[in-house]
């Protein structure tokens, strides 16, 4: 009788152990799925944004200009440099003004460069133009950011009063 009881208990424990092992295995395989689904659930909006692409392409064409890559890179050039040059008082306005000024000067230099190639237009005063003669867009950017030799400030760059005289 005692033997029979012992056998029954033994069988029950084996069955229990098997059941537990099966449960554990099932849990382990589900854990991966749960983890991914949780992540996925947090990313509903990213999945949804995919549906905007086709309608945007139909209405506006290529999306290659729709990237924040340039803006992210500008964190260093515009915001950090701009902040270090500000007097830290109302810095946001100074950063924006500085960027606006740099951009305007950049456009101005490019216009002069283009006009100097046009026949019938003489560009007087050569100090700035010597620099522009070898300039590439990166050179201009370096000039504007005070990273060129012989020009420490934007004011110094503007000093050679470049004028355009129609011939």
């Amino acid at each position: 009788m005692a033997d029979q009881c012992a056998k029954e208990v033994h069988h029950r424990t084996i069955a229990n152990r098997r059941r537990l092992a099966d449960q554990e295995r099932a849990q382990r395989s589900n854990r991966w799925g749960d983890l991914i689904r949780r992540e996925y659930r947090d990313n509903f909006i990213k999945i949804h944004y995919q549906t905007h692409f086709a309608s945007h392409l139909r209405r506006f064409g290529s999306i290659s200009m729709c990237s924040t890559e340039i803006g992210e890179l500008a964190h260093k050039d515009h915001i950090k440099d701009g902040y270090s040059r500000s007097n830290k008082n109302d810095a946001a306005r100074q950063i924006l003004l500085q960027y606006g000024r740099q951009h305007a000067l950049g456009m101005w230099l490019q216009t002069i460069e283009e006009l100097s190639k046009v026949k019938g237009v003489i560009v007087a005063e050569h100090r700035g133009m010597e620099m522009l003669a070898f300039s590439s867009p990166s050179t201009l950017r370096r000039v504007l950011k005070d990273r060129m030799k012989n020009t420490s400030t934007l004011t110094e760059l503007c000093q050679p009063s470049i004028s355009i005289i129609p011939r």
Partner: protein
């Protein structure tokens, strides 16, 4: 924010400004503010919506990945504001529930004061955050988990190391597992090579794995193809239909990795 950045645009949109044109003439330009390219967190702050809401369409949260053929209304933030201001006191709770369902926080939209601007239309797709740092990065996490589950990580790493150089493609300098922080350029390259590497890693499935491997490869390929074709510089009706079909394939097969 409005006073500093957006308010100076108001007179330009209303009365216009004279700008020297490239053809040598001076033009009166009415510059209308039409796009704001930013990541989702910034859009959520500026448009005054919840972090899990669409800034463009009135899509309830539970339907964000629902039926893609369904057409939703575009958010009319002005109408939302008027509704919130002019509702009957008895409707207050219903109104709050309605806006909560749409994920709109009334009074928090920065663009609402601008003339001739529809705030919902300012949202545009964003290659860096939506694609490269968004879904591509997530996709790689899903793929990593999948490889771990089927013990194919080594095969993936081996294939990753063997990628040959190709024009306009820079081969990865580090092993896949050693890359801690992905840069945009690396993720862009990943989009070009992931299909080939995954196909190589999953080339020898046993009978029980065959279906899963095929579906995973189909899902990843559909996602990658969707983004690569979306970035074409010009489009035809065929490319647009391909975009739709790749998106459909992704949604049909995504359950295998999700």
């Amino acid at each position: 924010m409005f006073d500093l950045v957006l308010a100076p645009l108001q007179p330009v949109a209303q009365g216009g400004t004279t700008i020297d044109c490239a053809n040598g003439k001076t033009c009166l330009c009415l510059s209308i503010f039409s796009a704001w390219i930013a990541d989702h967190a910034k859009h959520a702050d500026l448009q005054g919506i919840g972090s899990k809401s669409c800034p463009k369409y009135e899509v309830p949260f539970e339907e964000l990945i629902g039926d893609r053929r369904r057409i939703y209304n575009t958010h009319d933030y002005m109408r939302h504001r008027e509704q919130a201001l002019r509702h009957e006191p008895a409707e207050a709770s219903g109104m709050a529930e309605y806006f909560q369902r749409l994920g709109v926080k009334i009074g928090n939209n920065v663009f609402i004061g601008l003339d001739q601007v529809s705030p919902a239309d300012l949202h545009k797709p964003n290659l860096l955050h939506n694609i490269y740092l968004g879904l591509f990065k997530d996709m790689m996490e899903w793929v990593e988990e999948f490889l771990k589950k089927y013990k194919q990580q080594q095969a993936f790493d081996d294939a990753w190391k063997e990628i040959p150089p190709y024009p306009r493609y820079s081969i990865p300098k580090k092993a896949y597992g050693d890359i801690i922080q992905w840069q945009a350029k690396e993720i862009r390259n990943l989009g070009l090579d992931i299909s080939a590497v995954l196909a190589s890693a999953l080339r020898n499935p046993d009978s029980s794995q065959s279906h899963h491997f095929k579906s995973t490869f189909k899902c990843v390929s559909a996602l990658v193809d969707f983004f690569l074709i979306a970035q074409y510089p010009s489009h035809t009706p065929d490319t647009l239909s391909h975009i739709e079909s790749y998106l459909q394939t992704f949604h049909q097969t995504k359950d295998i990795v999700l």
